[in-house]
Amino acid sequence: MIRGFWAIYLREMMILRRRLLRQIPSWAVSPTLFLIAFGYAMGRDMTVDRHTYMEFLVPGLAAMSSMTQAFAISSEINIARFYWHIFEKFQAAPISSTAYVLGEVLAGMTRALLAVLVILILGFAFGVNLSYNFFFWAAILLNSFIFASLAVGLAMLVKSHSDQAMLNSFIITPMGFLGGTFFPLAMLPDWAQNLLYYLPLTHAAKAARASAFGSTPQLTSYIILLAIGAIFFIMSIKCVKMAKD
């Protein structure tokens, strides 16, 4: 049933390898700016939960990047589909929709992991050295699983490139800022906290940060992330099946 997913994954990796030298700087730019502006300049004397603001920021940025970079495959898929007709090649091949989604989602997750690695190295350069243990990576992986799955599904529904850009500015960017990346959610009023509780990024940032700070993250965060990921994954398989005219 998932036979052929490796071909999909391999193709994305071949393209990524060709672009890597351009890709790495692009992964580094905005985190560097955030680290300088918020971490170094403004947050110098600030502490959050007995950690420097810089230490608070790095796991949050990692969670945010795992979201944006996993989601970024959406526009790649969209371009490959509408400009280069590549998707038709997969539709004509004897592979299932599940295999296709799995291959693309794994590619999105790989991309997200590499981007997070770049951030951790940057953080290290700014003197942030946290504990990047199993729970940290599990939160990052689940978060990228969620957004890569969402990306594949939406790429099937979205008909044009400008719609794709709208998704980014109305969903992904706001979530990046509100999902506990830059400030503790406890600073917000209750109603806002309750609302943000439903965003996957909130849980990913919380779990990644707790793990990086050496405490035990809440199991419920992981369960919620996994459940959302599974739902998105199944929905995107359905979207791929429907993507025939």
Partner: protein, 278 residues
């Protein structure tokens, strides 16, 4: 073998394909000739699982395209109308990914790619990025891709559109060659010469309907063998003749400008549909 039974495709209120039935034998080189918008691409897209059919059914080597989708998909190679190669990858990488999509293992795949690159005369370009190739080369890479898994059916949707005459001849030779190796070829075209030169049988398609199916020779014979085109009151008029003698007799008593030529598929298309292919 391709079997199509009462195939219909509707897009909202437009009937793109209207109750089409066709049987194409294994090893046959079959051409689907019709003007733009006739429904050629739609037929191929339905047979290859890219577009859903509205009603009717079709089988590829006995596998139903809806109920036995994945098995049906293994039967054919597809060269679509628009280029569908990865521009940022090399020729070799494109072929490699294609083979992996058809579950080929690495060793036989590598061998096959080398063989195909020689076949389409692109061995020296194996590591060139696709975006740096000419249109004719891309076409040949697409044909090579479609052949990687050694399919017994090959769909070619307007394979020579946009190619210069020299490259067109080259692609034609390649297509004949593939057929001689035993494949069934289903080709769409709106070029008369392409259908005449390549096909063993031709279907005329117009406005989603199959008008007729026959060998090019029979279709032409229905009109006669020779034709004279002449301008009468600013309108082109064509007269058909069964023999050269009749035609000679006719044109000896004419004084205005005229063209004397052999009858071709365009004439029979015109006779059957009331319009030209182009």
């Amino acid at each position: 073998m391709i079997e199509i039974e009462n195939l219909t495709k509707k897009y909202k209120n437009l009937t793109a394909l209207d109750n089409i039935s066709l049987t194409i034998k294994s090893g046959e080189l079959f051409a689907y000739l019709g003007p733009n918008g006739a429904g050629k691409t739609t037929t191929i897209r339905i047979l290859t699982g890219l577009t859903k059919l509205t009603s009717g059914c079709a089988r590829l080597n006995g596998f139903d395209i809806v109920h036995d989708e994945l098995s049906a998909k293994r039967q054919y190679g597809l060269v679509p109308q628009s280029i569908n190669l990865d521009r940022e990858l090399s020729v070799y990488e494109n072929l490699y990914i294609h083979g992996r999509l058809y579950h080929m293992s690495t060793k036989p795949l590598k061998k096959k790619i080398q063989e195909l690159l020689n076949y389409v005369e692109l061995s020296e370009r194996r590591n060139t990025l696709v975006k740096k190739l000419s249109g004719g080369m891309k076409r040949r890479v697409m044909i090579a891709c479609a052949l990687v898994h050694s399919p017994v059916i090959l769909f070619l949707d307007e394979p020579t559109v946009g190619l210069d005459p020299g490259m067109r001849r080259k692609v034609w030779a390649l297509i004949k060659n593939i057929q001689q190796a035993g494949a069934l070829i289903f080709l769409t075209t709106h070029y008369i010469e392409e259908a005449e030169f390549l096909a063993q049988r031709v279907a005329f398609i117009d406005e989603g309907k199959i008008v007729t199916v026959d060998t090019p020779e029979n279709l032409i014979k229905q009109q006669g063998e020779w034709a004279i085109d002449r301008i009468v009151d600013g309108m082109m008029e064509t007269v058909y003749f069964d023999s050269r003698e009749d035609a000679d007799n006719y044109n000896s008593c004419m004084d205005e400008r005229f063209t004397f030529r052999k009858v071709n598929l365009e004439d029979s298309f015109l006779a059957l549909t009331g319009k030209k292919v182009k």
